[in-house]
């Protein structure tokens, strides 16, 4: 994959449940794109560092549990946007339902994962700024990567 800018990256959400918890299962779903996205931010799996300090040697570091992280996309709040509305529905959902998320890069590569939306704070800033929202999506599955075709 050659380097590229983030311009043209899209993020979508689905209300469906994948038939299988893998790349094919997530890719088969239909996603509704979220509009007015300013940025998505960093996401990806990291592993916890498990330290062990032996009496007679340097600190040893081991790989612990993995964490797929979270995203807090920055959106210009839009009541009429279908994707944002579904995202707000996911935030209001009191159950632990996983909502499939799809990120599509400008070259067509995709990232799929399941997430729970833990909040949808809105920001009313200065008069010369947009009314923004920064939903918090905790990634609760592996991140399935599909290369550009």
């Amino acid at each position: 994959m050659t380097a590229m800018t983030a311009a043209g990256t899209k993020i979508g959400i689905s209300a469906a449940t994948p038939a299988t918890n893998d790349k094919a299962g997530y890719a088969a779903l239909t996603y509704t794109n979220i509009g007015k996205v300013e940025q998505i931010g960093a996401f990806g799996s990291t592993q916890e560092v498990v330290n062990f300090q032996p009496l007679d040697g340097p600190l040893e570091k081991y790989k612990g549990p993995s964490n797929s992280g979270a995203i807090q996309p920055s959106l210009a709040h839009d009541d009429e946007d279908a994707g944002q509305t579904l995202l707000r529905t996911a935030a209001d959902d009191k159950s632990s339902k996983l909502y499939p998320i799809q990120v599509t890069y400008p070259n067509g590569a995709k990232r799929h994962f399941g997430g729970r939306v833990f909040g949808y704070p809105e920001t009313a800033g200065a008069a010369n700024s947009m009314l923004m929202a920064n939903p918090s999506i905790e990634i609760s599955t592996e991140i399935f990567k599909t290369a550009a075709s």
């Binding site: 689905s14 209300a15 994948p18 038939a19 299988t20 088969a28």
Partner: protein
């Protein structure tokens, strides 16, 4: 591996918009009360978001969020 069965290729029964909304992905927009024709998976997402309902009367009676 089990083949996924959720591929939404069929067109759903038409539903009706409970409020005016727009789909950033498809570019489609719908006025409140308008008939919404789309593929099954798209309609399912709209329905989950409360944007469409099965009858025009329900759509007309719905309050905008």
């Amino acid at each position: 591996m089990t083949k996924p069965t959720a591929t939404p290729t069929t067109v759903s029964t038409p539903m009706f918009a409970t409020r005016t909304f727009r789909d950033a992905g498809t570019g489609a927009s719908f006025e409140k009360g308008a008939q919404v024709n789309a593929k099954e998976g798209v309609i399912a997402n709209y329905a989950a978001a409360g944007l469409v309902t099965e009858t025009r009367s329900e759509a007309s009676a719905a309050d905008a969020a």
